[in-house]
Amino acid sequence: MDDVAVFGRDRTLDAAARVEALVSEHEVKLARYVRRFVSDPDFALDIVQDVFFAAYRMLRSDPARPLTASWLYKAATNHAITHLRKKKRRGETLALEDGAGAFRTDEACALQLDLQRALAALGGEQLACVLLTTYAGYSSAEAASILGTSADAVRQRVCRAMRSLRKTLGETA
C-alpha cells in the first residue's frame, strides 16, 4: 500500500500537474470508497472533486508540502462524515432504499444492496474503520493514522461494526 508514499513526487511540476497525477492514480478507488460511505454516487463525485481541488489549493499555497494517499482518504472521510451528519439531521432516507427493488436482479446485485444497507446502518466512525480496513485495504495502524485515533480503537470499532453487520445481514437474509 502506498500510504506513506509522497505523491506529487516530481516537485518541479506545478500544482495543477501534480494534482492531475493524483487524480489519475486515485480517483477510482477514492470515488468507490466515498460512494460506499455516502450511498450516493452523485454526492460521492462531488466529494471527490472537492478533495482533489483542496489538494490543488494546498499544493499551490505550499508546494513543498508532501501529499500522501492518507491525506486524500482523510479529507474524503471527513467530507463524507459531514455529509452523513447533514443528511441525518435533515431526516433524509438513503437513495439506495428507493431503487433497491428495481435493481435487485441477480444475487450479486442483491448482495451489494444488502451490504450497502447494512453499511448505511453503521455510525460514521465504525463505517470509516470498516471501509478503510476491509474495503480500502489499510491496516489498523494506517487507518488509525488517517482517522487520528489509536490502532486499538480501530480494531475495537471493527469488531463492533462486524457484529452489527452480521446482525443486519442476518435479518435481511
Binding site: 477510482v28 470515488a31 468507490r32 463525485l45 451490504l115 476491509t134 462486524m162
Partner: protein, 279 residues
C-alpha cells in the same frame, strides 16, 4: 478498559488478520467461555469476505479528472482576472489623481471646504473689548463674586514684601509706593487696571479686602473707598435712600488668607523691622 473491551480489540485484530498466534490463543480461550465475545469472531470472516466480494464486483468507474481540471483552470482564470482587475483599478485611480493635481483642480476643491476669511474678519471688527466698560451688575439674588487667592500664595507675597522692605531703604520704598501719574498712562493709552487695588497691603486695618466699587449713598456716588474695610463702620449715619443700595461687599475682591496675618502695627513692633526702618 474492561476485559470485554480488551477482547474486542483482540477480536478486531483477529478479524483483520493482524493477530499473532498468542493473541489468537488468548481470544479463543476467552471466546470459549464468554457468550458475548464468542460469536464475535465466528461470522466475521463471512462479513469480511462479503465486503471483499462487493469491492471486487465494483464496475463503477467514475472520472473526475476533467471536472477537477476545469475547476483548476477556472480558479486560475478567476485569480488572474481578479489580479488584473485590482491592478487596472489602481492604475486608473493613480492616473485620475495625477490629472486632478496637475490641472490645479485639487486646490480649488480643497479651498471650497475652507471657511471664508470674511466671516472672522467681520466678527473681529464688530467685537469690542470692554476694558473701559463697567462691570455688569449682578442680579439681586446672585451671591457676590469673589476671587479667592490661596492662602499659601498670599503668605508668599507677604514674605516677599517683608524681604523687600528689609533690603531697600524707606525712601526708596516710598518712591516705589508713590502713585503713578495717571496722565502718563492715559497718554500712552493704557488703562490703569490696577488702580484702586491695595496691592502692597498699605491700606491699613486688619482686613485685606479691596473694594473697587463706590458705594451709592442716597443716589449719589460717594468717593471710592479704596481701602476701607468692611468691618469698619461707615463714617456717618447712612441717609435714607430710596435707590436700591447694593449689598455690602458687592464687587469686592477678597484676598483670602491675608486677613489672617497679624496687623501691620504689630509687625512693626518686631525688632528687625525697627532696625530696617531706622536704617
Amino acid at each position: 478498559m474492561s476485559p470485554h473491551d480488551r477482547f474486542e480489540v483482540l477480536a478486531g485484530a483477529v478479524i483483520l488478520g493482524e493477530a499473532n498466534d498468542l493473541e489468537r490463543a488468548q481470544f479463543a480461550a476467552h471466546a470459549a467461555s464468554c457468550s458475548r465475545c464468542g460469536p464475535a469472531g465466528d461470522d466475521a470472516d463471512d462479513v469480511r469476505a462479503a465486503v471483499a466480494r462487493a469491492r471486487d464486483a465494483e464496475t463503477w468507474r467514475p472520472a473526475v479528472g476533467d471536472s477537477v481540471a476545469r475547476r483548476v483552470r477556472e480558479s486560475g482564470n478567476s485569480r488572474f482576472r481578479s489580479t488584473v482587475g485590482v491592478l487596472g483599478a489602481a492604475v486608473a485611480l493613480s492616473l485620475a489623481l495625477n490629472a486632478v493635481f496637475a490641472s490645479g483642480l485639487s486646490s480649488r476643491l480643497l479651498g471650497s471646504f475652507a471657511p471664508p476669511p470674511e466671516t472672522f474678519g467681520s466678527g473681529a471688527s464688530t467685537m469690542r473689548i470692554g476694558l473701559e466698560s463697567p462691570a455688569p451688575r449682578p442680579a439681586a439674588n446672585v451671591p457676590h463674586a469673589a476671587v479667592r487667592v490661596p492662602s499659601r500664595l498670599a503668605q508668599r507675597g507677604a514674605g516677599s514684601r517683608r524681604a523687600a522692605a528689609s533690603r531697600f531703604p524707606a525712601a526708596t520704598l516710598a518712591a516705589k509706593r508713590a502713585p503713578r501719574p495717571a496722565a502718563n498712562d492715559a497718554a500712552a493709552g493704557i488703562p490703569d487696571v490696577l488702580a484702586g487695588l491695595d496691592l502692597d497691603g498699605s491700606g491699613g486695618g486688619d482686613s485685606r479686602d479691596v473694594a473697587f466699587r463706590p458705594r451709592r449713598i442716597c443716589g449719589s456716588a460717594a468717593p471710592a473707598e479704596a481701602s476701607r474695610s468692611e468691618t469698619q463702620p461707615p463714617p456717618g449715619p447712612a441717609e435714607p435712600c430710596s435707590a436700591p443700595t447694593p449689598a455690602l461687599g458687592e464687587g469686592i475682591v477678597r484676598a483670602e488668607g491675608v486677613g489672617d496675618r497679624r496687623p501691620r502695627s504689630q509687625e512693626r513692633d518686631r525688632p528687625d523691622e525697627h532696625d530696617d526702618d531706622s536704617r
